[in-house]
Symmetry: C2
Amino acid sequence: MPELPDKRTAFMDWYLAVVDGAGVTDKRYPVKGMNVWTPYGFRARRNLDAVLVREIEATGSEAVEFPTLIPATEFEKEKEHIKGFDAQVYWVTRGGLSELDIPLVLRPTSETAIYPIFSVWIRSHRDLPLNVYQIVNTFRYETKTTRPFLRVREIHFFEEHTCQANEAHATERVRSNLGAFRKMADAFALPFLPVRRPEWDKFPGAYYTIALDAPIGEARTLQLGSIHHYRENFARPYGIRYEAADGSQQYVHQTTFGLSERLLGAILAVHGDAKGAVFPTAIAPYQVVVIPIPGPDAGDGPLRTAEEIAGRLARHGLRVHLDAGDERPGAKYYRWEQAGVPLRLEVGRREAESRTATSASRLGAKGRVTIDRLEHEVAERLAEFDRALAERAAAGFAAAFSLAGSIAELAGSTTVRVVAWCGSEACGHQIEAGIDGALLGVPEGPLPIEVGSPGACVACGSTTAVRWALAGRPL
Amino acid sequence: MPELPDKRTAFMDWYLAVVDGAGVTDKRYPVKGMNVWTPYGFRARRNLDAVLVREIEATGSEAVEFPTLIPATEFEKEKEHIKGFDAQVYWVTRGGLSELDIPLVLRPTSETAIYPIFSVWIRSHRDLPLNVYQIVNTFRYETKTTRPFLRVREIHFFEEHTCQANEAHATERVRSNLGAFRKMADAFALPFLPVRRPEWDKFPGAYYTIALDAPIGEARTLQLGSIHHYRENFARPYGIRYEAADGSQQYVHQTTFGLSERLLGAILAVHGDAKGAVFPTAIAPYQVVVIPIPGPDAGDGPLRTAEEIAGRLARHGLRVHLDAGDERPGAKYYRWEQAGVPLRLEVGRREAESRTATSASRLGAKGRVTIDRLEHEVAERLAEFDRALAERAAAGFAAAFSLAGSIAELAGSTTVRVVAWCGSEACGHQIEAGIDGALLGVPEGPLPIEVGSPGACVACGSTTAVRWALAGRPL
């Protein structure tokens, strides 16, 4: 069985091999960057979405769905926004056999689809806050090389859009989103850092952007999602106003919170290893695979016991797959390891006779479960697996950052660097040149490593308004 | 409070008023026929989809998702199919600032997106059957008047696509789909009739089409969905072949099963009444609404009791909404009746003191529930409501059909007509002219009314190969 490329030294080759081996997507669709969600991949996506829905609804957001197509006239209302997306939208120009009077854009994101309707939904302060989200597909005409889940042209997308009475309430919603994302990331065992992007890298039209960044080795980072504060930047062009308690007309302050299928890419990238994918139990398409092992004198004991195990675990609410196909057991082990199934149970003659199963965690722990206490023991093994997975990810996270005391030190970085920065754009660009990457921005909350107070900016040496910032190489 | 138009004599005005009053969609989006799913409407859709998923997965189908955009080159491979859709597809011709080399079609349905990939997924008889479905949005450039849920340009769509080893297995899949749809329709209390469409009205590219038709009064019918047998019609142009057990190469036989948001329209159309929408509990966004009734000496007893009731029912797994707003109770009753909530519980001072609530079913039954036995009694009331709703719908269905012994009798029909038909297209068109509608086709299975054997064709008088057919006015 072929070995995977090395994750550290040949990350993208490794990633592509892991994605292929896991069977989560099919890239052979005849449009570049538009991939097929296979049955196995769709299961992962459905489980992942369920976590997003649970956590965002717990914060009082309601699901909606707005149309996919946006009239050019609406799309072009906010100037910064349209500048940011102009070069990467798909245009529908023809309907049936005739040209459309007003061309339509396939949404790259839905501000310009949603806000004309917000302006009719919101009349009074009683209509606020308005917190809604949708899980839809968005489209970007990517000119860079596409990568499954990480950079695609049709994107499975989560977007919350909210309207608040004032700037402070919008700031509060940003915090609430960050809290919700912490819970989502916990479910995926995905360590991340919220980072306030520099001005030149914020979302087109935003007042500020907090990106959710995960280090994935060798100074590389993945932006898992982002939370934006828009102030009144969209409310003004779209006329989203309300009558305040004092009778005055006020513009709303808006926020958005965006996540995408890139989260699934991040889960594959962060947790995967030399054997392939590893899914946390929260999103694993199958949490347990049960494999009967026929033998010369085994009879049908292994198969019947495996069926019993699979049936009981399914009734217990677990996602379980019985692999009773006629391949060799070794080939099955290999396949389900590549596919990232947390727990494998094997049942041979010996196990069937002793009413046990041999257990193998995807992270290597071996053991035995007693069928009498099956549900309980499997739950324990899965919890152990999740703990071990979270520990491994946390260790990787802790090792992914280091201090850089000068621009020179940034060259050839193999970790994301913590640098002192004065906040100026010119110095930011010097830092970016130094690491041959990006100034990611200033972390919200604690830094990932222990450092003192920042001294002088690594670029200009100024000691005024210096803060710690992160520099890395976004994928 | 304004009265609704009369359902019988002004059906479409009534329907549009019911949809508006229920608050399930917003038609003010600036593209005609592309509507917004409101929070309330999205809840109904989510519940409806959950029923479809449950029933189709019970028959061994797995969820997938294929891209939204189809290259013109793939779209044009099956000649009948493309002829059927040519005039109603949206074309993406531009990406970013440049023209696309190959224009892309926004899927009107996904045969031509999926089948190129089926041709690489399927190699051997071991890969069969392949049963997959997706729930996605599709797009049709409708030139007729659009109507929420019934005829829209962006369509929330369910489509199963299967590959079978031979024609008989495909026929078996058609039967299985019909069985699954019976269970779905049962959950929605929606009576229907499977009807084999005449040749001239089958799906473009199909061998035959079984439509799922519901009568909605005054000879009108709604096609809720359809099941198609494709034989090898798509397998040949897309090259979907497998190696049979005997080593020969065979084309697969394919089937599809399609449903859309029109199902939600049908639920509104069939169950709605003079007070507005009525949702069966399986898809009701809220199954129960709890309304505290403040009074001069009521104190906070009603509100606290209403909160207790809502909390307990939610923990019990019901979808419950506490309406504690400051409107008059009468205005709330009116609103939630329009919105089709199955059960209303009212708590005033008297109820709070006696640990009871007054219950009002959306279909009119009044009563009282004891808070001690809340969960049990509410479950009973909801079951009663579903039974009464199903009975009302069944009575409407039974009254919706009648026999027509001649072409002349078809004029001015106020029911769907059962007619004797020889099967010829010319006679079919005479019947269509007679009823000023369509020959719906030949029912699969029992007729909706008791009739003997068909005698002579109502059009040509032939007594050869005569069968019972249905004629009506599809909406």
